[in-house]
């Protein structure tokens, strides 16, 4: 029986007295190190710009504050909001946003693939896409503010997930129709576990395009939308 195919749990790992073996201890610490680094590192913004994203920041000034103040990681300064309004495409059918969230490697490794699929797919279907935005120190609720200010129909936020020990590169896509600060969290539809060991970015891209089409047609999202 191959245990790994039945459960990812750390079982049948032996012991040294009642403690774990050296090999298992080091493996565990390695996995934790990767997860910690994923939280505390930064996205390579040059690469994100090369993809065509406009880079903006929330009210957060550094990573430590980002971890401590989820409230500030949801909001922008007046100047930033003004800038978004003045320089980004208004009233797009789809607004794509990426944010570091709790894992920068999730963006570094997955954004390019998924973004390519999304842009091609929407173009092919004649669906208009707004100016792609990357948010440094961004939490999920930032999508509500951006959607409101740009009048986007469907907003898609690609964000780094809180890393587990299994991977530090997992990304989620939060999607909402007329995403708004007035609506509850249940307005959002989520595609999660996007990484090369889970739902492949290319596959996730196809799913997101499919869901977007339904949202545009039904004019709703989240718990209101049965997919």
């Amino acid at each position: 029986m191959e245990i790994g195919t039945i459960t990812p749990a750390r079982i049948h790992i032996g012991r040294s007295g009642p403690r774990v073996t050296t090999k298992e201890l080091l493996k565990f610490r390695q996995d934790h190190a990767i997860a910690m680094d994923a939280v505390w590192s930064h996205v390579d913004e040059e690469k994100v710009r090369e993809l065509g994203f406009k880079v903006i920041h929330t009210l957060i000034k550094d990573k430590e504050e980002y971890i401590r103040r989820p409230d500030l990681g949801r909001r922008f300064s007046k100047e930033t909001l003004e800038d978004i309004k003045n320089t980004c495409i208004s009233n797009p059918s789809v607004q794509i946003i990426a944010a570091d969230g709790l894992s920068s490697p999730a963006i570094d490794t997955n954004l390019k693939d998924i973004f390519g699929i999304l842009m091609d797919g929407f173009k092919h279907r004649g669906i208009s896409v707004g100016t792609p935005l990357f948010i440094r120190y961004g939490r999920v609720a930032t999508m509500d503010y951006i959607s409101e200010i740009l009048g986007a129909e469907v907003t898609i936020l690609l964000v780094g997930e809180r890393p587990g020990l299994a991977t530090g590169e997992s990304m989620s896509a939060y999607m909402a129709y007329r995403s708004s600060t007035e609506k509850p969290e249940s307005q959002r539809t989520v595609v999660s576990n996007i990484h090369n060991g889970g739902l492949y970015p290319v596959e996730a891209g196809a799913q997101i395009i499919h869901i977007t089409e339904i949202m545009l047609k039904e004019k709703k999202s989240g718990v209101d939308l049965k997919i």
Partner: protein, 450 residues
């Protein structure tokens, strides 16, 4: 209005609520809520004021108004009036001195008169070793199918979580855990899928397993209480009914519960449970939940946690544990804060009279690591914590956090000389897993149950 002069600096606090919040040890959640002391000096000023406040003052000024909150009403109304009359003139400082200088039995005699706010207040004046020492004197037992919490025992919940609830995968973790003598508190799964059919399927699997191997313990699937009620109505074998609790009516509503619903669950369990009882409820709590669901009323997170225990007490639970490091760094920032909170929660639960355990844990976005987890686990073993979690390799592959492992439970028992629950221990010896309280040579291998 409370006022104190300290080294030529005057501190003023507008309310008991403000004194309570600022007297708290530093927690990122209190800072986030904007209620924490602004300096170390202000913190000690608040502690000094708090130490001179009488229990009567605290009783007369519920921190969330009686009219506004059913948890407040429950706690105030269930006070033992006779005992309260005897101790109401005691200050919080004197209460600390009394707890530290009295035997466990003497402490138990007054605890019926303590509200959650009094328990929170005295906790704020205690150091970490105070919390360990005081808790170690309080032996709280409970009986379901077996008796948990007796002196000299150290128990564990077997937590065999799986990313898809695959029964075969779950049962592999159960077998592996049992081969380490983990699972005397409960075999309890956090389900991914909260459906009645799924909950029932897993309860049946646990029940079949411990019946087949004649292992005296309890089963539980930690779904929402309404799901478990449905499963129970359909005849599922439930030994322990679970629910997460919060310390205010608003936050309990966010969990989809209120006292009426818990009462209903309790009374239906009482007549339909699979276990013997009389203790058949299981609750989880954790500092910060109320701020997270915007039901904290500007109250510090320690006090909100104490109120959870006040609510739990109504249902004479078999198990209560704080999931201390799960909520994240915006509430408990680092190892020092999690260790402090774990000791506080355990002490408060014990002083409330509960069979108290701790999910000693951390997430990957906290400034904490395996060493912090092990430190807290060891301190709690000295504090005579009733039970811990047992997670394979310490890595929960469904909830994505780290908790104590099968190995940790076995090690803590060996270091402290404590044993599992007596009936369970006997069976573990018969199965050749334990001998004289230690793992045997063949222990630690799931294949013994295949």
């Amino acid at each position: 209005m409370y006022k104190i002069n300290l080294q030529n600096k005057t501190y003023e606090f507008g309310s008991l609520k403000e004194v309570m919040a600022k007297a708290n040890e530093l927690k990122s959640g209190d800072v986030l809520a904007g209620v924490a002391a602004l300096s170390a000096h202000e913190r000690i000023a608040a502690k000094m004021i708090l130490s001179d406040i009488t229990l009567e003052t605290i009783y007369n000024h519920p921190i969330i108004p009686y009219e506004e909150d059913e948890v407040t009403r429950l706690i105030v109304d269930s006070i033992d009036r006779d005992t309260y009359e005897k101790i109401k003139r005691m200050t919080v400082g004197e209460l600390r001195d009394f707890i530290l200088s009295s035997r466990g039995e003497a402490i138990k005699e007054i605890r019926g008169a303590l509200t959650a706010e009094m328990i929170s207040a005295v906790t704020k004046l205690m150091s970490n070793m105070d919390l360990v020492y005081a808790a170690s004197k309080l032996v709280n037992t409970a009986y379901c199918n077996t008796t948990i919490g007796k002196a000299g025992t150290l128990s564990a919940r077997l937590q065999p979580n799986h990313p898809t609830d695959d029964v075969e995968g779950v049962m592999l973790s159960v077998m592996e855990g049992m081969s380490y003598a983990v699972g005397d508190a409960v075999i309890g799964l956090n389900p991914v899928n909260d459906s009645v059919e799924n909950v029932r399927r897993i309860l049946d699997a646990f029940h079949d397993f411990y019946t087949k191997w004649d292992i005296p313990t309890q089963n539980c699937v930690l779904a929402h209480v309404t799901t478990q009620l449905e499963a129970l109505k359909k005849g599922a074998p439930i030994d322990l009914m679970f629910q997460s609790l919060a310390g205010s009516e608003v936050s309990n509503r966010a969990f989809g519960i209120d006292i009426d619903l818990l009462d209903e669950a309790y009374s239906f369990m009482n007549t339909h449970k699979n276990s013997k009882g009389p203790n058949f409820m299981y609750f989880e709590t954790g500092q910060g939940a109320e701020l997270s669901s915007e039901g904290h009323h500007g109250v510090d997170q320690l006090t909100m946690e104490a109120r959870c225990y006040g609510l739990a007490k109504r249902y004479k639970p078999y198990l209560v544990n704080t999931v201390v490091g799960f909520i994240g760094p915006e509430y408990l920032y680092d190892g020092a804060q999690v260790i402090r909170a774990g000791l506080e929660d355990h002490f408060m639960g014990k002083l409330t009279g509960l069979s108290m355990g701790v999910d000693v844990c951390y997430t990957n976005h906290m400034k904490a690591d395996q060493n912090d987890l092990e430190n807290l686990a060891l301190l709690l073993a000295q504090a005579n914590c009733n039970y811990y979690m047992g997670v394979p390799g310490g890595d929960d592959v469904m909830l994505m956090y780290q908790s104590t492992s099968y190995h940790d439970v076995a090690t803590l028992r060996e270091i402290t000389g404590k044993k599992p629950i007596a009936e369970f221990n006997t069976r573990m010896e018969e199965l050749g897993i334990l001998k004289n309280g230690r793992l045997t040579k063949q222990a630690g291998d799931y294949r013994m149950f295949i």
